[in-house]
């Protein structure tokens, strides 16, 4: 189950987005996602402290905290959360800040096109899943490397105590050669 958090100071935008993402009839690809919506960025930050969320979508221009600052906070506290910014005005400085500081995944301009937004959300979800999988795999590799390293140390110790013990010499017919 995917989880989304949407922040916009305009409640109607929130309900429209909720309809778009929640309803199977509208967006069948995400099955029954959990959606939290907030009209204020600080409240959304509080919520994020206690809840794990896959994607945060934030409006850019909001009264108490702008979207770029909000998403920068989200990035710092919850780096695994995918971040999308939406804006009704394309002010270049804001976008630059959002990209550079908040490390956003996508910029969506308002009014959005439903199919594009859906595709964007799915893409970001897939991208995020890949990233997480990647990291999990990397963790696994590291863990396995630890095991191998421990075995190697043990082998080295044995070799030091009884040189040659870790090596086996084979004869051509498959016998084992024992010296002395």
């Amino acid at each position: 189950m995917s989880s989304l958090l949407i922040v916009d100071d305009e409640p109607n935008v929130l309900s429209a987005m909720r309809r778009l993402c929640q309803n199977a009839a509208v967006m069948p690809a995400i099955h029954n996602p959990s959606i939290a919506t907030f009209t204020s960025a600080p409240e959304a930050l509080d919520y994020l402290d206690d809840h794990e969320v896959d994607i945060v979508i934030s409006d850019y221009r909001m009264p108490d905290m702008d979207g770029a600052s909000f998403l920068a906070c989200v990035k710092e506290r919850h780096p695994d959360t995918a971040r999308i910014i939406m804006s009704a005005c394309s002010d270049i400085d804001g976008i630059v800040r959002a990209v550079n500081h908040a490390g956003i995944f996508r910029f969506v301009s308002k009014p959005w096109s439903d199919p594009d937004l859906k595709a964007t959300i799915l893409e970001v979800l897939a991208h995020r899943r890949l990233l997480i999988e990647n990291r999990e795999l990397a963790d696994e590799v590291r863990a396995q490397r630890d095991v191998i390293l421990r075995q190697k140390l043990e082998l080295d110790r044995l070799e030091r105590e009884s040189p040659g013990i870790t090596k086996v010499r084979w004869t051509e017919d498959g016998g084992v050669l024992l010296e002395e």
């Binding site: 935008v13 309803n23 221009r61 009704a88």
Partner: protein, 480 residues
């Protein structure tokens, strides 16, 4: 013998003198008038010759010969030596002088024009004074064959001189006034020209201020409109999806109803009745139209806001690039070809153009606007000619159509934002304004020529290189 007294005392003679003074006011040549006045005086005093000297404007004692009888014409207008001769003496002292016989007898330095021409027998010279100021002097001479002037003659003449001085002063004032009027009318013409230039400049300032304020407003309004537009559009999409589901559900119920056949359940009967009453089929069809028409409306608003925003900034700033304009034109043509192909034959009349520094997609937008406009101006079977070329430091690209043309009264409004003659919904009146601001941003300009019924030709002129920007062209970039 005192014929002089008789004649100059005659009212007719005085009146004639006055008339001569007025003559200048009727446009007679000033020198001519002075000469006539002098001749009148010479006749009045029964003299053989005479002359008038006037003080040159702006000096106190520099005399010039203003008129003279029996003098070579070239002498008129010549300066006289300062303080010399009878004239010099008279102007200096302000007193009239009577000279009889040899000048030496009078003790006067008689070397002026009065006695230059011949040995003077008898002469009188008076100063011309107006309001206590000497403006010149008049002299009359008699030859030896005539009787000499007397002191009486001198006095008699003196009485007339104030009138003559007034006439001369008036005349001079009149000439000055004429000159002033000429100067003023020249000045006036210059002022009018400058005024026209100022007016043009002011119109331009007003125009660009108007554009700037519209731009500012557009940027502010865009945000306010885009938010409600966003949820309205999205909700409409959701509504459509819901309705599809609802109608599917209803269809399933109707199928179930049919399957049930003639089962007699009261609730089912009520539902059937309701269905018959509401013309369910119509609702289903019209709901789809309703949603799609509403979406069209909202999309139109979206496009207008987008255009406005483009207009306010001349679009998104783009990096300057040196591009092949012909390739850009061809790409744009491909986009509009479908729209144009049924009514216009497209002629490409490309000259040779170097690569041009510009913001490529902004420039494409200009071409697109011009081509779409050209297409819309043609009802059927027209031609759109795209020509290019270079002159001096500019590249030019023209789009000419054989369409309906632009009425002269609209010609200077076509670049105004929101000005459109297209039917509602077909044009926002921003296409040419946006194009204009894009081309201006490139340091170029758009010219238009149009004739109603014959067609319109838009010419975009662009500098080959943008000022204070030097960019790698495509070839260099490929090499790098």
């Amino acid at each position: 013998m005192t014929p002089a007294r008789g004649r100059i005392a005659d009212l007719d003679w005085i009146h004639a003198l006055y008339e001569l003074g007025q003559k200048a006011a009727n446009g007679a040549h000033p020198q001519q008038v002075r000469q006539e006045i002098l001749e009148h005086i010479v006749r009045g005093f029964d003299a053989e010759s005479g002359s008038i000297a006037l003080i040159v404007d702006g000096t106190t004692d520099q005399l010039e010969l203003a008129a003279g009888t029996e003098l070579p014409r070239g002498l008129i207008g010549n300066p006289l030596p300062r303080g010399a001769g009878v004239f010099g003496h008279v102007v200096e002292t302000g007193q009239p002088v009577l000279v009889n016989g040899d000048a030496a007898e009078t003790g006067l330095p008689l070397r002026g024009s009065v006695d230059r021409q011949r040995s003077t027998h008898s002469a009188m010279c008076w100063p011309l004074r107006v309001a206590g100021r000497t403006i010149g002097a008049v002299a009359v001479n008699r030859a030896e064959t005539s009787p000499r002037y007397t002191a009486d003659d001198l006095d008699q003449g003196q009485a007339l001189m104030s009138l003559l001085a007034l006439v001369m002063a008036n005349h001079r004032m009149h000439v000055e006034r004429e000159n002033r009027i000429l100067e003023l009318s020249t000045l006036n013409a210059t002022m009018q020209r400058i005024n026209g230039m100022l007016e043009d400049a002011q119109n331009q300032v007003i125009q660009s201020e108007k554009l700037a304020s519209i731009g500012q407003m557009a940027a502010g309004v865009a945000h306010e409109i885009n938010n409600p537009l966003a949820f309205a559009l999205s909700n409409l999409g959701s509504l459509e999806a819901y309705l599809t589901k609802i109608f599917e559900l209803l269809a399933a119920y109707i199928d179930a109803d049919v399957a049930l056949g003639s089962t007699n359940i009261p609730a089912l009967a009520a539902a059937r009745m309701l269905r018959d009453e509401t013309d369910f089929e119509f609702l289903r069809r019209d709901t789809a139209d309703l949603v799609s028409e509403s979406r069209d409306g909202l999309l139109r608003v979206k496009r207008i806001v987008q255009d406005l925003r483009d207009f306010s900034r001349g679009g998104v700033e783009e990096v300057l690039q040196a591009i092949d304009v012909h390739a850009a034109l061809d790409r744009t043509l491909n986009i509009v070809r479908n729209e144009l192909k049924y009514k216009a034959n497209i002629v490409r009349n490309y000259g040779s153009l170097p690569e041009i520094e510009c913001m490529p997609s902004r420039l494409n937008q200009v071409f697109l606007n011009l081509l779409v406009n050209a297409g819309q101006s043609i009802d059927a079977n027209g031609t759109i000619t795209i020509s290019t070329g270079v002159d001096d430091k500019d590249a030019w690209i023209s789009v000419a159509d054989t369409g309906c043309g632009i009425a002269p009264e609209n010609l200077n409004r076509i670049f105004d934002p929101f000005f459109t003659t297209k039917p509602v919904g077909q044009g926002t009146g921003l296409g040419l304004s946006v194009s204009h601001s894009i081309v201006r941003k490139h340091g170029g300009r758009i010219d238009v020529e149009s004739e109603v019924g014959r067609g319109t030709c838009f010419t975009v002129r662009l500098p080959l290189a943008q000022a204070n920007a030097s960019l790698p062209n495509e070839a260099e970039k490929r090499a790098a």
